[in-house]
C-alpha cells in the first residue's frame, strides 16, 4: 500500500468519493471476500478511510497515476 500523510489521504478520499458519486446509484461493487457494496456504502467506507475504503482508494490512486505517467496508454498500445 502507498503511504499517504493525513492531508494526502483527505485529498484522495475527496477525489475518490467524487468519482464514485458519478456511478449510477444502483451500482454494486464486489471486492472479493471484503464483500459486495452498494455505491453509497462504498462511499461511506472511503469517507471513513477504513480498511475497505483504503483498498479502494489505493486502486483508484494507481489508476490515476497510470493516467498521469501515460503508462495506461503504453499498455493499451502493447496489445493494440
Amino acid at each position: 500500500m502507498t503511504e499517504f500523510n493525513d492531508q494526502q489521504l483527505a485529498d484522495l478520499s475527496a477525489i475518490v468519493v467524487a468519482r464514485l458519486g458519478i456511478l449510477s446509484p444502483d451500482t454494486g461493487i464486489s471486492i472479493g471476500s471484503a464483500g459486495s457494496f452498494k455505491r453509497d456504502e462504498l462511499i461511506s467506507h472511503v469517507e471513513s478511510k477504513d480498511e475497505i475504503g483504503r483498498q479502494f482508494m489505493e486502486m483508484d490512486w494507481q489508476f490515476l497515476q497510470s493516467l498521469k505517467t501515460g503508462q495506461i496508454y503504453e499498455e493499451i498500445n502493447k496489445y493494440a
Partner: protein
C-alpha cells in the same frame, strides 16, 4: 480420452453468485469441445471432495471460483481448499485459473514450484461492478460483463487448445478492449469510475509457470 476440466462454484454471497452464473459459459464451452466437466458446485466445493476428485481424475484444467488471499483459495462457506503450505502439490500437472483475490502472489508461485503446469490468477483483489437491478439475472448484467467476460476468456481460450500464455494474453486483450471502450465513452455518467476497476484487474492478472502448457 476426453480432456477434463474441474471447476469449483461455491455459494455464499453475491460475488460468488455472479461467478457461479458466469461460469456456466465456461461449462458450456467445455461440453461443446467434448471435455468432461467435473462441477464442484455449492457444498461439493469442499477440500476433502476436491482432493479426492483431483487424485482420481487428474484434471487438465482446474478453475477456482471463490474467495482467496495471498496464500490460499477457499470454497463453500470460505473453507480453505488449497493452502500454500499444506496441499498445493495436488495442483501438479494441471493448468490452474483462479478467479479469486490475491492468490497468484504466493499460492500461485508455490503451485508452479510444486509442478502445476501453469497458474493464471490475480496478485491483488479481483473486483467487479454489477447492476443491483440485475442480481436475479447475472448473465444479462452489462456492467458485470465488462469484468467477467475478460475473466472467462482465459478458460475459453484454454479450451480452444491455446497455450497458457496465449490464453492469458487473450484475456488481457479483452481487458484492454473494455478499457478502450470506457475511455472513449468516458464522459458517459459513471464510466470514469468503472475504468479504474477494469484497469486494476488487468494490471494484477498474471500467468506463472510454463507459458507453453496446453490442456
Amino acid at each position: 480420452m476426453p480432456k477434463i476440466l474441474l471447476i469449483t462454484r461455491p455459494q455464499g454471497d453475491l460475488g460468488l453468485k455472479y461467478l457461479e452464473h458466469w461460469s456456466e459459459k465456461i461449462i458450456d464451452a467445455a461440453k461443446n469441445k467434448g471435455a468432461l466437466v467435473l462441477d464442484l458446485k455449492h457444498k461439493r466445493a469442499a477440500r476433502k471432495e476436491l482432493e479426492s476428485v483431483i487424485r482420481k481424475k487428474s484434471p487438465h484444467i482446474i478453475i477456482f471460483n471463490g474467495h482467496g488471499d495471498y496464500d490460499l483459495l477457499t470454497g463453500q462457506f470460505q473453507e480453505p481448499l488449497i493452502i500454500a503450505t499444506e496441499n498445493v502439490q495436488i495442483l501438479a500437472g494441471s493448468i490452474v485459473y483462479a478467479v479469486s483475490c490475491r492468490s497468484a502472489k504466493i499460492l500461485g508461485e508455490q503451485a508452479v514450484l510444486k509442478s502445476a503446469k501453469a497458474y493464471i490468477g490475480y496478485k491483488e483483489n479481483f473486483i467487479f461492478h454489477y447492476n443491483e437491478s440485475s442480481v436475479y439475472k447475472p448473465l444479462l448484467d452489462e456492467k458485470a460483463k465488462l469484468f467477467l467476460e475478460p475473466s472467462n476468456q482465459v478458460a475459453i481460450s484454454l479450451l480452444k487448445g491455446r497455450t497458457a500464455q496465449e490464453s492469458f494474453v487473450s484475456s488481457q486483450k479483452f481487458w484492454i478492449r473494455n478499457l478502450q471502450k470506457l475511455l472513449v465513452k468516458q464522459f458517459e455518467p459513471g464510466n470514469t469510475a468503472l475504468i479504474s476497476s477494469v484497469y486494476h484487474n488487468f494490471k494484477h492478472q498474471v500467468c506463472l509457470g510454463n507459458g507453453n502448457a496446453v490442456m
